[in-house]
Symmetry: C2
Subunit: 717 residues, 2 copies
């Protein structure tokens, strides 16, 4: 357990409110009402300048008048008074606050300066706080709700941290109607002190929380985010939505909480690196998070599909298979055991479709039991469990024919042979996840029962199947190689002196030979080459290195060497090489050194590189090369420093990763050598902040061995 | 208007039921109850073997006893009695039926034979029918519902045709709760007579229907489907979900309605060819269909985002931009006009975020009005309209403080300055679509009002934004080139005789030269080449065609020519060519003719081909070539015959389509020539059923000109 401040902030024994009064249409009052009405059992101290009581509780005019230093202060007063209040609280001894008030960094320069002063004031007193510009928190374990909407659901297992307050206020009723229950939820606002990373760390340590969902517009400290997330994701699933990566998304996020966004593809890499599953919508953040929070870990990729209808069964099969799972045909034995429970022609080979039967016991318990018992599947998706919702949809038609039979009678009759507890207990009993799909929401008693007993019921078959695919994505996260901290790499003095020399000469870039030497200093496989200054030296180099030879002009001043005739390939003899040297001098129009290496043969081309991103740091890139590089942008990213495991994962993430396997008669590429090359990029970035950007293009796979054939290193200005 | 049988079947003046009685738990009775209870005003004739009345209506023991021939028969009796009933109905003069009964083709051989007999019987009497194995139909224009669940919503504009009955029964309450209303809906079951294509054609002609959604497990007559859809999609949007393309999906579909599925990527092509927008879930089929059915056509891609919360605004912007739309920054003038309606620091540059304001009139009417008026956007997405849902979420907190103020009072107070009719009328007034997002469902009076007035309200910001992207996809469909019927292509006698000769010789394939001649006969650009039988002929050919030359062994018997040393490239002189001829003879180990052509230069490689698919017919393929072809599978398909417009669209659909533009100093490829090549593939397929498969690999782009450099044609056995 860390000393994360949220352990205390989220569990206060007393709360003082600032800004709550008796006008229940004021924001401050609404926040306070959630504290007083939703079951919080701690002490409640409203601070109010005038009123003697607030919401029926004795009020205090000032911080000083409070009977004790409150554990937590909830602040919803005009922004110009926030700093003084924090100061008073600090003097009194309060150490935690939630600042709901907006009007700070997100509004421009004067707000930014006020936020800085707020931070300084809080730091001076050792006060840790959430906000400003947030919606507060929810801790269902102690029935504490500081948002503005009612929340009286029983505690759940989904931990939620959000850079948007709406997602734990406006959506509370939405969640209740879908049976999704938080363990804890935090709206982090401007993150002036406590950040979404702190929230993640806290939720990772919180026992009530079984899965974590994050709504992200921008991460401020990416290395710490990675570090925290990597410690959590091997044992607790984390999913995230990121919306800052588009132009308009970034603009909107900035004016929302002042968040600094980064490119979408970099965040893709960050999430992969962290073992975080990325989703595309708030709906999935809730729903798929809920599936992860309630179900046992999936042990394999085989799904059993059980339905009362062909359409949903087909659709769920389609989505699971498209998501990399398998819908195995059930064994004859299993099919035979299912046969007595279904109509004669009903499909039972997976999907099982009970068709026009209304035997809900078979659908919800007996068939799932047989399927789990068989050992033939690892997870179940089930569509069509229903009772009262169906009766209610039918009843208006039969009310006048029903001869005194009520809706309740019909529901009870249909419930008579059901064993819902057994059904909902199956996932725990067998350690096999089960997810339901129904078009009938909590108006149906079965939907209600399952949701209340931690079996998610989604409102469409595809969503159910996608949640199963998400469970499988988490299975793959758990299976991946351990990602320890990246090993420290010692700074190369040779590399440093090359860079130093170039900078002293006022150069903005290194030449190709220098760039390769630096990469080689950190273990990257490069062409074995010599720098030559004359035709004779060139010929001698080729004689030593072998034919066919390549000769290239080597200068940091010259770009587009090929187009200018400064690259000569396939030179077959010493005479050819020495003639090529002279040709290149002519083409360059000036005396220029050259490099000579033995030509690398290989038709598999890749690229790799390093770029630095504001707010993120150095990132390592790996991708398909050749003519289609820019067209297809088949690339993947990681934030440096990276581990060998990261590098190996990168080699598997390209759409065209198959090129690295045995391919068209060529041997599989040596993945460890590629990893060394990628690690070198990270190491250069870490050890040499003067290096702005690295571009290796192409890397050729020669036999099984990757070789950096051309490289460019640009320096910071 | 066509003579589509559904125009009459869907509008009967009288309906007879078979299988309906007085036990309301029987399927037949449930179906009948929907007819008698949901507002249908036509005549209702229950046929029952024993009871004198059924559901309070006079019953008839036999078809013969009916007072007239009913316009429509609804049949829910055991399968073994269906044929006799159809026969009686036919004799009596009934011409339309819906056969709900299952147990036909989908159950195996005996069911298949029974279905054939059913078809023959119906044909003999000129009876057109839906089913068997279906759930019936809904025609809201005449309040006719033949499914088993209650449906009393007012008529809508979404036409729905489905190969799963569940999607117009189990989902009816689901749809009602989301404010989605059908115009007509049809469950087509086994499609023994009337098919989903007939349903599509009918919905295309139905004036009440403004958009069409199709749930598809497999299309039986793809050419007719294309023909029908292409006539509809230029003026009425069609969206479709296809789930038959995975292994398990195909298996499941087959046992569901006996549908014949095809590969997913081919269906992608079919939908593009038809101008149909593909979606991935039943939820989108309903929700995005509803957006298309209710909103004016989008005129451009600029979206205005209006919210009361940063999170949803950022998320909607992100999704719209990711979907190819633009979120333009509003002009200073527009921002100034919005300023008085929002709090001082509220973002108003697009997204507009009214933040902590509860001014619903500004959010729902005044700001959208200004934004539409400005001419700066083409569509609006709006999050946060709410009233009673919010009050209800708040009220439990304040009930005891409210001093007699009720929920209704608060709702009315908040409604006081609202002009919802104006707000909901804006899309029609300005011809600009507006889609809403709210976490509060129809428990909120604003959600209810908008939905009831044809403004879709989605339960997540991302779904709202995706629906706007779908409107934009339809804009692009409407903008595309007119797709007339493919022009008939005259059969080439030369091509026919080449094929005839090969078949007579018992060959399974043509040789490369023959294959190219056939392609050239239909207009494809091929290498200018000569077939040679001696070294002298080879040298003479090269002299005539130019250098560098290529010489290849030419035989339908030899595969993998390159690997066997039977291809010689870059031959520079007559001597080289003639030596190469002799070399190839040796390598082949037998006397073999060769082709000679001038080597084609071009680094851009593509592939094209033709394959035949069961149940679909011949398909034309176009894709990226070169080393990554199999790895990246960047390919697109169309069903032959294709038009030049189809072919041009194909060239734009690859992820790597940019390669055909100006690229790395190379000129843009001649798209019309590529189109000619693709048209040739379709024409060969149409004119020569003996051709099983064509594979052109590679096509090189030489300068701007595509050239088929190698080609293989396989023949049917």
């Amino acid at each position: 357990m860390t000393t994360n401040p949220l352990h205390k902030l989220m569990n206060p024994a007393s709360i003082a409110t600032f800004g709550a009064g008796n006008n229940f249409l004021k924001m401050g009052t609404m926040h306070a009402l959630s504290i007083t009405k939703d079951g919080y059992a701690g002490k409640f101290y409203p601070v109010h300048p005038k009123d003697a009581t607030v919401l029926g509780h004795k009020a205090y005019r000032t911080v000083e008048e409070l009977p004790e230093a409150p554990d937590l202060a909830l602040i919803v007063i005009p922004s110009e008074h926030v700093i003084a209040t924090i100061d008073s609280l600090g003097k009194r001894g309060t150490r935690y606050a939630i600042i709901i008030t907006a009007g700070f960094k997100e509004t421009g320069e004067s707000g930014r300066s006020m936020e800085r002063e707020l931070i300084e004031t809080a730091e001076r007193h050792g006060i840790r706080f959430i906000g400003p510009n947030c919606m507060g928190i929810v801790n269902t374990a102690i029935s504490l709700n500081t948002t503005v909407m009612e929340l009286r659901d029983k505690p759940g297992h989904l931990g939620f941290a959000s850079q948007s307050g709406t997602y734990i206020t406006q959506s509370l009723k939405y969640l209740g109607k879908r049976g999704i229950r938080f363990s804890k939820a935090l709206s982090v606002g401007n993150e002036a002190d406590i950040s979404i990373i702190d929230a993640l760390e806290y939720l990772g340590e919180d026992e009530q929380t079984k899965a974590i969902s994050l709504y992200i517009e921008g991460i401020r400290d990416v290395p710490r985010f990675l570090d925290v997330a990597r410690r959590i994701t091997p044992h607790k699933p984390v999913i995230a939505q990121y919306v800052g990566g588009s132009k308009a998304g970034a603009r909107s996020g900035k004016s929302h909480t002042g968040a600094m966004a980064g490119p979408d593809h970099i965040y893709d890499g960050i999430f992969r690196q962290a073992g975080i599953i990325r989703v595309d919508s708030i709906e999935d953040l809730y729903g798929q998070g809920w599936a992860l929070a309630t179900q046992p870990f999936l042990r394999g990729r085989r799904v059993g599909v059980i339905t009362n209808s062909g359409g949903p069964g087909t659709a769920m099969s389609h989505v699971c298979e498209g998501g990399g799972m398998e819908i195995p045909v059930f064994s004859e034995k299993l099919q035979e055991s299912i046969r007595p429970m279904v109509l004669p022609h009903a499909p039972r080979g997976n999907p099982v479709d009970i068709t026009f039967s209304f035997d809900m016991n078979a659908l919800t318990t007996e068939i799932p039991l047989l399927v789990m018992e068989s050992g033939e599947i690892d997870g179940i998706v089930l569509h069509g469990a229903m009772n009262s919702g169906f009766v209610k949809a039918l009843y208006p038609h039969i009310a006048d024919l029903a001869q005194g039979v009520t809706i309740e009678d019909m529901v009870n009759e249909l419930n008579a042979n059901l064993n819902l507890s057994r059904s909902a207990g199956l996932p725990r009993e067998y350690g096999i996840p089960m997810l339901l799909s129904s078009f009938l929401d909590r108006d149906d008693n079965l939907t209600e029962f399952y949701e209340d007993n931690d079996i998610p019921v989604f409102d469409s078959p595809e969503k159910t199947a996608r949640a199963m695919v998400t469970l499988n994505r988490y299975r793959l996260v758990r299976q991946r190689e351990a990602h320890g901290a990246p090993p420290p790499v010692r700074r190369s003095a040779d590399a440093a002196s090359i860079i130093e020399r170039a900078r002293k000469a006022g150069r903005a870039a290194l030449d190709e030979h220098e760039a390769k030497l630096i990469l080689a200093a950190y273990g990257a496989p490069i062409t074995e080459e010599r720098l030559v200054a004359s035709a004779d030296e060139a010929a001698a180099a080729a004689e030593a290195l072998g034919y066919p030879a390549v000769l290239k002009a080597c200068s940091s001043e010259i770009l587009h060497k090929t187009e200018k005739g400064l690259v000569r390939l396939g030179l077959a003899s010493a005479a050819d090489v020495s003639a090529a040297f002279e040709d290149v001098q002519k083409a360059a129009g000036t005396r220029v050194p050259a490099i000579v290496y033995r030509m690398v043969k290989g038709s598999r081309e890749l690229v790799a590189g390093m770029t630095r991103h504001e707010g993120i740091g150095p990132c390592v890139m790996f991708g398909l090369g050749g003519i289609y590089t820019e067209l297809l942008r088949d690339v993947t990213f990681r934030v440096a420093p990276i581990t060998a495991a990261d590098a190996r994962e990168m080699t598997r993430e390209l759409r065209g990763s198959g090129i690295l396997g045995e391919f068209r008669g060529m041997p599989a590429a040596d993945i460890d050598e590629i990893a060394r090359l990628l690690l070198a990029l990270g190491a250069v970035a870490q050890n040499h902040p003067e290096v702005r950007e690295i571009d290796i293009n192409p890397i050729l796979i020669s036999g099984a061995h990757p070789v950096a054939v051309d490289a460019l290193i640009a320096l910071e200005a």
